[in-house]
Assembly symmetry: C2
Homo-oligomer: 207 residues x 2
């Protein structure tokens, strides 16, 4: 059954482990505002989505050449977009892709309040500018509080309810046949990749 | 594990079939604004929540005296609150409690856009002022479009994704041990009933 796209909000699906998601996190609000489109942010986990689609690992692990290309492409695109980006140094490469469950849980909590988008941008900058380990809970707590989260945020993030919300979000991503990040859904229309961000927003604006 | 309430948004859980939910739908935003508190609206289905708690029907069916009392209490409280309310006439009583699945699905779609709260208020007034049958899809479509929904809203509401969202929301209500409507959650604090609306908002405001 096709899902009509008229008046449907754009949903922005991203995964902190995904380099291209970083670009979209940093620029989606500006691009959306220019078009008068509203965007709902949906952090999710790619790992379980891959599994649900029958893949047991990231395509970047299956195709090392693609990973190599991705890093170079990221350098070029970030420069072109004016977004700061530092390729992780070789001694830190073994932490990529990063473990993002906790960051995603915090993000979901923050997106139900008013500090979620700032938190996401903080996490992305830590990861993709400073090559920091965003599985580090002390770092995550600091970035969250800087964005406006309560000081007990790590307690909130480990609550079963936060886990349930992230699980639900990932389950929806899977049902929507999302197989990569970032993705944008406008009704049944799926757009994959930061390089389709404008297309997705234009689609929503013209609907 | 206790969920700390500090800075947690108030979640307002309601069911269109519930008379007391009507009162909260009509007044929650005014009361929240007075306290500087933000409220996230969460329509859900009481039936599946009851089942998950091991109950096979509404307590109002188990205790007819309570149902009788409820109608009189609704007349008094609505008058005291200045909210229009008409007890359903005897010949329409067999449609109460109403079948609310479609209304709830539309509400969830609208709450992700900007017309959800108006739609909820429209549905509630149709049900509790005009004694209309809110399972009537033509009526729901009309009320939704009046609130600002696209004209193809009924197609959106029958999409598997709309069903999934309502299922997830009801599952969360169950996990949060919600057993009646309206309910308000502020972290792990559960407040049940329109007569606890102020308490819930005060709790959030002082946290």
């Amino acid at each position: 059954m096709p899902l009509p796209v008229e008046f449907w909000p754009v949903e922005f699906w991203f995964e902190f482990a995904s380099s291209y998601s970083y670009l979209s996190v940093m620029r989606v609000e500006t691009e959306a505002a220019q078009r008068g489109v509203s965007v709902i942010w949906r952090p999710f986990l790619l790992g379980p989505a891959f599994k649900a689609h029958g893949w047991d690992t990231s395509p970047f692990r299956v195709y090392p050449l693609k990973a190599k290309y991705m890093w170079r492409d990221m350098e070029r695109r970030s420069a072109a977009l004016g977004i700061e980006f530092n390729r992780p140094p070789p001694d830190k490469m073994d932490t990529f892709p990063q473990f993002t469950v906790t960051a995603a849980r915090i993000a979901i909590i923050g997106l139900d309040a008013d500090w979620g988008k700032d938190f996401c941008r903080n996490v992305c900058r830590a990861e993709w500018v400073d090559s920091a380990n965003i599985a580090d809970k002390a770092l995550l707590a600091k970035l969250a509080v800087q964005a406006g989260a309560p000081t007990n945020i790590m307690k909130l993030a480990s609550h079963p309810d936060a886990k349930l919300k992230l699980r639900h979000q990932t389950e929806r991503a899977t049902k929507l046949k999302i197989f990569g990040a970032p993705s944008f859904t406008v009704g049944d229309e799926l757009f994959w990749g930061d390089d389709r961000l404008e297309d997705a927003l234009d689609w929503a604006a013209k609907s």
